[in-house]
């Protein structure tokens, strides 16, 4: 395994603050190893900027191993870049060719205001979780495992939905900036388990209300979210949320 080095042109969105209007800046990324990750490539560029006394490009990251959901921006129009089921931190420069131009911009949504450069404020997601993304349990001794029988398929479906890392790529990819894939994953991973049924109706109604209040758009079933989700969350979760919502709305006391 030996890599080569490539040269790239980066067109990056710069914005000093949420109030700033923002502008495009062009950088040359020289001699980038194809074995570097995308974020390492940005690190190299930032190091050069710092050495030249310029302000480095701000971008979000934490685990850099595809599990925390902190990283993410649009690369050539694709949230998390061109690879399927891959977070930006797991994207590697071998995906690009010598001389490529990469347009790197923050996620664009009214509910995700830009804080600085490529960093957006995704606390609207936190608000949705606070509105109902939990189950109420009694404190004290932990229950015996398998006390509540859960069919294997249900457990699998719950786990598939729980794979959501809340990165916001679904909102970024949606032509309507809708958050339905995120909200549906959070509703689903609890709704298919017996522990989550107790509060299911209230959860569906209050999480949807909070989603609307945060200024996300309305889903029109373009499926772009499913295509771009780094965890491969299926839009069948959105159908489940729609079901949970109509059940809660028409058949519960909530």
């Amino acid at each position: 395994m030996s890599g080569k080095n490539i040269n790239l042109t980066l067109k990056i969105w710069r914005q000093n603050s949420p109030e700033d209007r923002g502008r495009w800046e062009i950088f040359q990324a020289k001699d980038i190893s194809t074995e570097a990750s995308f974020l390492e490539m940005l690190d190299i560029v930032n190091e050069q900027l710092a050495l030249a006394g310029k302000e480095p490009v701000a971008f979000d990251h934490d685990c850099r191993e595809g599990i925390c959901g902190t990283c993410g921006c649009a690369v050539n129009g694709r949230p998390h870049g061109p690879d399927r089921e891959t977070t930006l931190c797991q994207l590697h420069m071998r995906r690009f060719q010598e001389g490529d131009t990469l347009v790197i911009e923050p996620y664009r949504a009214r509910a995700f205001p830009v804080i600085k450069d490529l960093v957006v404020d995704r606390s609207a997601f936190d608000g949705v979780i606070q509105a109902g993304g939990f189950v109420s349990v009694n404190t004290g001794q932990a229950q015996d495992a398998n006390n509540l029988p859960v069919p294997r398929d249900d457990a699998e479906r719950a786990m598939d939905a729980a794979a959501c890392i809340g990165c916001g790529a679904c909102v970024a990819a949606c032509p309507n900036a809708a958050a339905m894939l995120f909200v549906s994953a959070k509703v689903s991973h609890l709704a298919v388990l017996p522990q989550g049924r107790t509060e299911a109706a209230r959860r569906a109604l209050s999480m949807v209300a909070q989603m609307d209040a945060a200024g996300f758009g309305n889903c029109t079933n373009h499926k772009e979210c499913e295509v771009e989700c780094p965890k491969g969350i299926s839009i069948s979760n959105i159908a489940r949320l729609n079901r949970e919502f109509i059940k809660a709305g028409l058949a519960s006391k909530e």
Partner: protein, 216 residues
């Protein structure tokens, strides 16, 4: 009644009303097409179908009122959702690229095909509705023939049927998804049905004016 307003003013509630009214239009399209296919039984069969339909009297009025109410709901919500969605992304992407396998021509043009269909429905009613066009001295076949003898109107009708097909192609499966009917057992069938129904509507309705013109 407050809960009704609360449910149907949410994003999902609005979309579910869109879906239900949309499915109603799909049912209407099916019956409208089946009835009009009587043209292939000849001029008498076609005129007889129209007479039988109008003989339904009150039942027909109920259906018409239902469709008008559904249309008002569908269009009003479409306009609201369209502007809400535009507001949700105030700054557009410089590069806006689909990952492939997501949005389609049909899904992206829904608001515009919808508007075109609205214009078509207006013209269609003005041309052929028994409420608007006097039928005392002419049969429905004669009226239709005269309408389609106008080349401009004929072309607009044919183009409109392609537009309806495009709208149905995304609308049908989308309606099922929105009311929560998505299951690995039958979703592939519904997605297939979307395309099949779209073709049937475009070709089926599109063939009617040509059949009428060919029959004189």
């Amino acid at each position: 009644m407050i809960w009704v307003a609360r449910i149907f003013s949410t994003s999902i509630g609005k979309k579910q009303l869109m879906a239900v009214t949309g499915i109603l239009f799909l049912v209407f399209l099916t019956t409208h097409l089946l009835g009009n296919l009587s043209i292939y039984g000849g001029i008498e069969a076609f005129n007889a179908y129209a007479e039988h339909l109008h003989a339904l009297g009150k039942l027909l009025v109920v259906a018409e009122v239902g469709l008008v109410v559904a249309l008002i709901i569908h269009v009003t919500l479409a306009i609201i959702l369209f502007f809400e969605n535009r507001k949700a992304r105030p700054i557009k992407y410089a590069v806006d690229k689909s990952g492939g396998g997501g949005r389609t021509l049909s899904s992206q043009t829904m608001p515009f095909t919808g508007l075109l269909i609205l214009a078509f429905v207006g013209l269609h009613l003005a041309n052929l509705s028994h409420h608007i066009v006097d039928q005392t001295n002419r049969t429905i076949f004669q009226i239709a023939y005269e309408v389609f003898a106008n080349k401009g109107i004929l072309i607009f009708y044919l183009a409109s049927m392609v537009v309806v097909g495009l709208h149905v192609r995304h609308g049908l499966w989308s309606a099922f998804q929105t009311i929560g009917a998505n299951h690995p057992k039958y979703m592939p069938f519904i997605e297939w049905l979307s395309i099949f129904f779209a073709v049937i509507v475009a070709v089926g309705f599109g063939s009617l004016p040509l059949a009428i013109l060919a029959l004189k």
